[in-house]
């Protein structure tokens, strides 16, 4: 995930609030369809913004299925493969729903799929928590440039990008508004 600095002026929105809502509704329907009713689905968001997306998806799934959908968060900081290349990061919350994930269909939720390294770390983290029946991945934006053999099962928007570009997801819960911005990386 690229973080876009606030001084970047030429970032342009590629998804706005209503688009994001529509995309999440579609993903929710796809999950129900693929999971044949979403009986055993557990949504786990990857902090920070994946958690809000997971909560929104859960709300939509509850509307569709009329059932309570377990939703939680999975912090992957301690499982990152680049820990030793940066100062230690502050940890975020891992919150596994009460019934656990054993035998469940876990859908990981993140905002941007890029190198795939975050998802690899998430799979390692899951391994220490339990044994799901299956693991799927839902992302709001897939920007390409994978460095590992990982793909998403549910994609909000495929966004072909160059490595010189940055993708920034903003969500109302964290940033005060819903938007996906595409900008150019500032060269120092």
């Amino acid at each position: 995930m690229d973080k876009l600095d606030s001084h970047t002026s030429d970032a342009r929105p590629v998804l706005e609030g209503p688009d994001i809502a529509r995309v999440l509704t579609r993903i929710a329907h796809e999950i129900v369809e693929r999971a044949k009713g979403a009986d055993d689905v557990v949504l786990l968001g990857i902090p920070t913004r994946g958690v809000f997306l997971a909560q929104r998806l859960a709300a939509k799934l509850e509307q569709i299925t009329d059932r309570k959908i377990p939703v939680g968060s999975l912090d992957i900081t301690m499982y990152r493969d680049d820990l030793r290349m940066h100062p230690p990061r502050a940890l975020a919350r891992t919150e596994i729903p009460g019934d656990g994930i054993d035998g469940k269909l876990v859908v990981l939720v993140d905002d941007v799929l890029f190198s795939g390294r975050t998802i690899r770390a998430a799979l390692d983290a899951l391994n220490d928590i339990g044994r799901p029946r299956a693991v799927q991945l839902a992302v709001l934006v897939d920007r390409g440039h994978r460095e590992l053999p990982i793909r998403a099962d549910y994609v909000g928007k495929n966004l072909p990008t160059s490595l010189r570009e940055t993708v920034k997801v903003q969500l109302a819960e964290e940033d005060g508004r819903d938007t996906v911005l595409l900008g150019v990386k500032q060269t120092q």
Binding site: D75, R84, T94, D128
Partner: protein, 326 residues
Amino acid sequence: MQRHLISAADLTRDDAVLILDTAEEMARVADRPIKKLPTLRGRTIVNLFFEDSTRTRISFEAAEKRLSADVINFSAKGSSVSKGESLKDTAQTLEAMGVDAVVIRHGASGAPYRLATSGWIDAAVVNAGDGTHQHPTQALLDAFTMRRRLIGRDAGLGQDLAGKRITLVGDVLHSRVARSNVDLLHTLGAEVTLVAPPTLVPVGVEHWPCEVSYDLDSVLPKSDAVMMLRVQRERMNAAFFPTEREYSRRYGLDGDRMARMPEHAIVMHPGPMVRGMEITAEVADSDRCTVVEQVANGVSIRMAVLYLLLGGNEPAVSHARTTEEK
């Protein structure tokens, strides 16, 4: 080069709050079926204990193992130290073995500082108690316990201990726990009162950021947490108070005294407790006593400290003073 934890006084407020917040997440690992994180895989940590210890050594070892570090335990008994090897030679032996961090407990105040600043080794140094000087991870786990009990697990995140009234009772003179706690609690905004017989109050205490009282009963009703310190008989020559009975009557915590504390107030003890001396069995076994909780919290705090010092390419905890300044 500030990658050691030598003294609680070196921590800024933000550093301390970051350690407490990180420990809160680490604590959740203990609830999992697999109590292990891969974070320090391939790092070697030596526990260098020149002085006896049960809970600190076990706690560090548990923390290191939960973070997947390779652990080497060393105690002075049964090592070359008993043949007369110096700290310098021991340190250089460890350095030659490629150690990433040294957790040191030593009877001499300043030994960890010497190890960290002498240039003998490159490893990060964590002070696990030196003489009557400092025991920073104990102070951190005490602050963590207070924040959890007095503010709340989730409500406490990002918070310090501003305005909390903490009372430390007993053998302040010989207590590195007291020194570290006064430094850290002051940094976190708490109001600290020391209560002890005049003979067990150190010289120069007027320069410490705390109040001093000789009357336990007047302080108890105004305390959010009361920490009883062990009377360290091994560091005394029976010359600090007339009899144990008198000490325990004036400065011991029993059920009657505990009843005079506010409803929400907690009783803490760094352990090992001497039941019947500074604390009665009734108090030690009550719900308000956090001794066992403190031990569990110790593992989380030490995981947090080791992660923040060793988890990245440079430590996340910045220190107020540098090696050059001292």
